[in-house]
Symmetry: C2
Subunit: 442 residues, 2 copies
């Protein structure tokens, strides 16, 4: 079975094998805590065995719900924020094409409730006006401000277009099993629903219905995605594959050696939103108690002409983790040109990806020479299977890494601070005291 | 005249007014160096007086060339990388809508040559097959690998579709005035051309034909864009407006106080690529000699549910600069709901942007309370005029800031390192020795 691989040889100029291995006892302990639930945040370990525990029946139910939307809709809007947005977006973008086209026969996949942009919502509604659209609304409580606003607007628009009864058949709710505003509404209106389990946090939810339903609606094979994750789960938990452990130990060794920023690098524009998903996974898991590696990302070779100078020669507080995709989906060869004014004939007949691979290798050598440790995460291709492996790899490594850092990787107390202030400023009922306090500061 | 404003009161918990003012003599000197050309990199100061020196005749010529493409093309591909990509992309995205729609009557604007993604090029060519498309190719030399590959492929495709003679009328080259591969080709083929002046570096080129032509093709008012930049140029150079100076001094004071990362923040999805443009401008100008602030960016409130936790509570080595857009283009009000299950009726009748503004204010208070200094850059709206002001503001501040840091803000020696390695690995003629050397290391 092919699997993604991690190569750490190009960090060894900065941290030694001994530095990294010194973390193994802690890392072994961290992995044990993840499997036996004895570490911090143990209420949120539902993701650890999720791939193997996901039933065929659930996957079939998701595919049936997806097919219903695919059949009746030209566009489907996924409403959610944070983990209820990034996982689906990342996988759909990775499997799709960058011109925004979905596979033949699939509806256009749109996102809402991931921001509060008034113009964004206006443009989105104009884009949907008069079209056959459906909604997947994702919220544990149903009251998170961003998605709740978007859902009010789009539900109302859909009901005006097709009537309340018909709209109810085009709305799927992914929410708490029993309680909350969205569960109540779904029961009243008779929406098809899927459950957000209590023990899986948002940023670990891409392999639950939260991510799987939008991915299935877009036309991708969620069984293969889960199967890939299952391969990595089994390999990681049995110790047959140490790549998650290696990645977690290495990045912590680099952090302890003063490398404050990790840049996740891709050479494939399709991975842009995968990088964004990774930033949430690691930033929200580790950025607490005034510590944690700052997660950043670049899309190369685009950003070699943007952040490249800084990476090559700025402060030496960074390291890079490069996702390297071995095989591309399509073949494009560089044509020959009789005039050769651009001097490119030395590349004629080569595949574009051969040049990209040499850009990647040339960059790695240049950056390592410049004092930037590089890890390399190699995957065979951007398929459902290997994306499933990559997702589980990063999730497992994140849990281990958070424990190595000494934080609870499964909470996000800092996300509440802006919300409380916002509610106070908006004079939300129940926030009267907070409103008075914050207004006196302005 | 309305102008963008900078507010620094929320950094004063970290650096005092005195700390900032201590930099004024150096900053005054830096500004003088920019205007009299006595500082480092003085060969690249063409951008300083560019807005006032841009002639009406050039703008009219650009508009005429744009109108020709608009008339004959359903899609126009802009080929360029780095500064030959990001400026146009940033302005077009800021003025456009996030569903990818261009103004009525405008062609679809696409980009190529900003990466070496084989699948990206394949998907792009499939997207263009059989359609009436034009090309704007932007390269000083005409031999930069990424755009040269894309241009070979797309030129060949266009010539196959419409014939060589017709293709020549649909290609515009923006290149060196006299020399280089693209200039030679343009002369031979009779392409319409515009000049990249020697004294304006790529990342400062958005207000030259490099940025202006694509922006005009997309249907936006380049005269208003240049007029806005001119307002800021005159105000900055006469000392009537100190905002660029203030921003430069403040961020350097914060850097000297140990804040290693600047996060440019927006609350408007349209500004995502403006943030990317800013990252190139500052990263490439300052990231050298093992120093410089690391430029990062977030799109809020989206990223409050991703990077928000880290910003609130991670290592205290960051500060934020928030671009706050006062007025939105469209009005969307939150509807009332008789059931109010989502509890949002306290917001019913309010504009979506009122909620967004309270998210912004609530976040600023939370982050400042959490130890993250905040600057605020306020602009009236996302119009050509104010984007022109903002561009010049950031460019001027970048020049001043680079001199305060003690680097040459106008070179980018580090960008060459990966290129040399790549050429050696690809066995480019002339690199025989380097090829031997690099292969012996593998």
């Amino acid at each position: 079975m092919e699997k993604i691989q991690v190569d750490i040889k190009d960090v060894l100029q900065t941290v030694s094998k001994a530095d990294i291995e010194a973390l193994r006892p802690e890392a072994d302990e961290a992995l044990a805590k993840l499997t036996d639930g004895t570490g911090l945040g143990a209420d949120f370990l539902g993701w650890v065995k999720l791939p193997t525990e996901t039933s065929e029946a659930l996957l079939n139910d998701l595919i049936a719900a997806a097919n219903n939307l695919r059949e009746h809709c030209d566009a489907v809007v996924c409403i959610g924020i944070g983990g209820s947005y990034l996982g689906a977006k990342a996988v759909i973008a990775a499997l799709g094409n960058q011109l925004g086209t979905t596979p033949a026969g699939s509806p256009e996949i749109l996102f809402a409730g991931q921001n509060i942009g008034e113009d964004y919502l206006y443009d989105l509604m104009e884009h949907l006006r008069g079209r056959r659209f459906g909604i997947i609304v994702i919220s544990k409580s149903g009251t998170t401000t961003e998605p709740a606003i978007a859902f009010r607007l789009l539900k109302s628009m859909l009901e005006q277009q097709v009537g309340r009864e018909e709209a109810a058949k085009l709305i799927v709710a992914i929410t708490d099993a029993h309680k909350g505003a969205l569960r109540s509404l779904a029961t009243t209106e008779g929406y098809k629903t899927f459950v957000i389990e209590d023990n899986v946090g948002g940023r670990f939810s891409v392999l639950t219905p939260v991510g799987l339903l939008p991915i299935a609606v877009a036309g991708y094979d969620i069984k293969a995605l889960v199967a890939g994750a299952r391969e990595m789960e089994q390999a990681t938990l049995t110790g047959a594959d140490n790549s998650a452990m290696t990645y977690a130990m290495t990045r912590n060794a680099l952090y302890r050696a003063g490398k404050k920023i990790e840049i996740l690098v891709n050479y494939n524009p399709n991975l842009h939103f995968f990088n964004e998903w990774w930033k949430q996974l690691y930033g929200e898991s580790e950025g607490k108690d005034h510590k944690g590696i700052f997660p950043a990302a670049v899309d190369n070779s685009t950003d070699l002409h943007s952040m490249g100078q800084w990476i090559q020669d700025g402060e030496r507080i960074i390291f890079e983790s490069v996702i390297s995709v071995r095989d591309q989906r399509h073949e494009v060869r560089i044509p020959t040109d009789s005039d050769n004014l651009d001097g490119l004939n030395y590349l004629a007949g080569k595949r574009v990806d051969e040049v990209n691979k040499m850009a990647e290798l040339g960059t790695r050598i240049a950056h390592v020479d410049g004092g930037v440790p590089n890890m390399r995460i190699v995957m065979p291709r951007l398929s459902e299977q290997f994306l499933g492996q990559l997702i589980y790899f990063f999730e497992a490594a994140c849990g281990i890494s958070g424990y190595l850092l000494g934080v609870n990787p499964f909470n996000q107390p800092g996300v509440e601070a802006y919300k409380s202030n916002m509610f106070a400023l908006l004079e939300k009922p129940g926030y009267e005291e907070a409103t008075k306090a914050i207004k006196s500061r302005l």
